[in-house]
Symmetry: C2
Subunit: 519 residues, 2 copies
């Protein structure tokens, strides 16, 4: 069946009520009964939750073949937790595990042999970088990897599309009764937002910490009432890879130019007024645009009421200067953000459901005036790809991209027109991961295109001096520079499913074949 963004979705995937994508907001109206875990009350008020090792926790949780285990990615490339747990699972000879992680990266390359020997047979994640992406793309995982946005993952757990048997919470600090926080300790991640839904919907929950603190560890990100066992290990992550240093302002002229375009666009739009709500990523152009936006805000005396994120240093600086009233945070991107989470009383942790779930009663992304996003590819229908490289390899993650795009009043993609010999703006993206319907503006170093669906924005910009053009003109310019790329040749086998945030199928990723590039 052809879906709303023109992709052919094979019938074999449309089972158990699975539907094809029908538009960004079409399925939100339905009612559903929330999923629920099977829990066991705490038998004896005096009993302890402490167990000696991850292996003991696995035994107490009655680990067995076929289970779904969940993890979160606040430690990013410094994460030890997923590998430590899976190492024990592997040693115990358990097979057929589905990994349900909020995201996976190069830190998890050690999982590759476990895919090859049948320990891991399913992967559900925001995306996959590194060698795992490679083996999925090469068809080594027996089932298609399911890739969801951050909001889509929460929705899937809450609707029961995924049932988590055991959730593992890597906790920078934890007390003996299971209250976990993202702040403090030696592997400080600032927040634990991605793990909140896991703790609420998993049958069993294991907190793994390298910093046991006195009871009660409050305000808890993960509450004791949802935690079965607590394990203390030497290290849950590599602090140098969890928290990078402060993001440095870019000196790349191309990035600075795009940032200036973006700031001029934002500040000329009707949504730029006192109390606006804003989110941006951590790419070079995004950070540059945050910095240049700050200047305009100072000049015009306009303040942001809420900065949503993924928070990095430049947003924290605006907050500390008084230009942003409150920061709400699902992931601290750098040391400055982690420090701010500890120190600034108006920097708040929110759960990923509060951040982006499309099927709760209202997430923070719905309140966005602007979101500034990056892209691997954008096509002439404004569809964006942030997961699959132009060579067909799974190499990125949806993250909050589709969620913020769907929620924001003005969704802006900043991307260079070409990267090396790859055109970013193209006729048809390799894989659709954010539907064009939810993308409003594309800013490149060669010009700016506004989605024709947004006649209001086109009208609002008619006297603004920016290099506006059509998306087709941008595509033509890109092709003129680097040539039109040959369509990637995929095999038949489906190795990945790109799920829209509402649970429908937006696109599929097929097995990689030889990579062919014109001229």
């Amino acid at each position: 069946m052809i879906n709303k963004v023109g992709r052919e979705i094979p019938d074999e995937l449309l089972i158990d009520g699975k539907e094809v994508y029908q538009g960004a907001y079409s399925r939100h109206k339905r009612e559903y009964k929330k999923a629920a875990p099977v829990v066991r009350g705490f038998v004896d008020p005096k009993a302890s939750k402490m167990v000696d090792s991850i292996k003991d926790a696995l035994i107490k949780c009655e680990i067995r073949d076929g289970m779904t285990l969940s993890f979160h990615h606040h430690f990013r490339e410094g994460d030890y937790v997923l590998n430590m747990v899976m190492d024990e699972v592997h040693k115990m000879g358990i097979k057929d595990i589905t990994l349900c992680a909020s995201s996976m990266g190069k830190a998890h390359d050690p999982i590759v042999p476990m895919v090859e020997d049948g320990t891991v047979t399913g992967i559900q994640s925001s995306g996959v970088r590194g060698k795992i992406g490679e083996i999925i793309s090469k068809g080594k995982l027996p089932t298609p990897a399911v890739m969801r946005s951050h909001g889509g993952r929460v929705r899937a757990i809450q609707e029961g599309d995924i049932h988590i048997d055991i959730a593992f919470i890597g906790a920078p600090t934890c007390d003996e009764y299971g209250n976990c926080r993202g702040t403090g300790g030696k592997s400080d991640s600032g927040v634990l937002s991605y793990a909140v839904v896991d703790s609420q919907y998993a049958d069993k929950v294991v907190a793994i910490t390298d910093c046991l603190v006195p009871f009660p560890n409050l305000h808890a990100s993960i509450s004791q009432v949802n935690v079965d066992y607590v394990v203390v290990v030497d290290e849950i992550g590599d602090p140098s890879k969890i928290a990078r240093g402060a993001a440095k302002p870019t000196k790349d002229m191309r990035n600075l130019m795009m940032a200036d375009y973006c700031t001029k666009f934002v500040s000329s739009s009707p949504y730029f007024k006192d109390g606006f709500v804003y989110q941006t990523g951590i790419g070079g152009p995004s950070i540059a645009s945050t910095i240049s936006l700050g200047k305009i805000m100072r000049e015009r005396g306009i303040k942001m009421s809420v900065g949503i994120g993924g928070i990095a240093g430049p947003m924290v600086k605006l907050h500390e200067e008084g230009l942003i009233e409150k920061l709400v945070d699902t992931q601290a991107f750098d040391l400055k953000a982690i420090e701010s989470m500890r120190e600034n009383p108006n920097h708040f942790e929110i759960s990923t459901s509060e951040y982006a779930n499309p099927m709760n009663k209202g997430a923070f992304v719905n309140r966005l005036d602007f979101v500034i996003l990056a892209a691997l590819e954008v096509d002439i229908n404004y569809n964006v790809n942030v997961v699959v490289g132009s060579d067909g390899m799974i190499t990125g993650a949806q993250g909050g991209h589709p969620d913020t795009a769907a929620g924001a009043k003005c969704t802006i993609i900043i991307t260079p027109l070409v990267r090396g010999r790859i055109p970013t703006i193209c006729t048809d993206v390799t894989t659709i991961t954010t539907p064009g319907e939810t993308v409003d503006v594309v800013i490149t170093d060669y010009g700016i295109a506004i989605n024709p669906l947004r006649q209001d924005l086109i009208e609002a910009m008619k006297d603004v001096k920016l290099p506006f053009c059509t998306i087709e003109e941008l595509r033509d310019k890109a092709y003129a520079i680097v040539g039109e790329p040959e369509k990637v040749q995929f095999g038949e086998r489906i190795v990945g499913i790109i799920e829209a945030r509402d649970g429908t199928i937006l696109d599929v990723v097929r097995e990689m074949k030889e990579f062919v590039f014109r001229d």
Copy 2:
């Protein structure tokens, strides 16, 4: 069937898997699937949750005959919310409503005519004071009122024993997207702990506020992701009745003597050591004992790690002095506690599930070393009654009494031996609301009895100079003073069910007949 505390529970009540009480911890081992609400995702990111009136909210929630509506009692005797909502329900001609409130009191006397005309046909509450207690006791409610402890109520909602169709949150402050807080505004209640579970498990949730604040109202006690509609009204409560002035130290010699006994007992027990965890009520003797406990703590250099509550001024003072490290709070009892919730960073709000739910993975009550409680009656099996007066009238509430008694290492009841002409210590309490198995010590103005189940405490106290005696001796002394009371004569009809915290039936309350008293 006769239950574990010797009460005859009629077979007619033992349907749908309902069981009789089998002991304080006997049913905790079972697994259960948590209940879940039916929710509707938020259709349009730009849609508003604001509605013009309570009536409009009721219509949008599709109010109909037979629904269960929930309320919380943080505004205590100053609550306007329950009456305002029920007034609209009544005007709309809706019938057969079950009220599921965390507690009900004299503020809700206006509900009486709605019971009489069939608007309200079921009441589930911690207890009922005032005229509603009277009409229940007189058999005017068509179904037995179900009375549960605070923890038992959360358990019942979480296990699906009660399904809430619409929850109403009286919010001292709320933003237009439904984030509710207990602090701020003109009807400041400090916390909203009782309402958290309602917001999570009800199909529809309506926030009612008299102080709309800018988005986002964080840290939210009730999250936007669980709120469907927001209504602004003139007043949600009478501030003078929500927050009483600071509790005054008692000058009653009897109370002071019992407080001294209690302090001596506590400080002579093995649990009185640095880092102990403590809870007390707000009766005269309890407050006096908190004050005198403070003296001993100063003298011996012993600090409390956590004060749990129901928090009142005397606990806040010890916290501010540095004698209590953290306060965790489900209900602010006075102005001082409300102010502390706003001002003191180590005064934390917790949900009632975190406080007392016996069937989550570990509540705060399980961490108690001591709890100091009151009683209407205590019998020679240490069973306590806090709900039904010695005349047979429902006049009190379980509150957290059975929860803290079951959780604490040392549960102390302080009560005068007689009140007026009523003996507090008796052969057999009118109604069992906290099982004797969970009660360790009874302190009266005439002597102190330790439950023979606690040989360890009896041993620990053998050299302590306090007027120890048996509970039978206390009973005999009481009867010698005021005479042995005639057993209350009840009718046949069951008007109330006292549910144990695990959902079994602990006792029943029957219809009142003529009150007879010997001599």
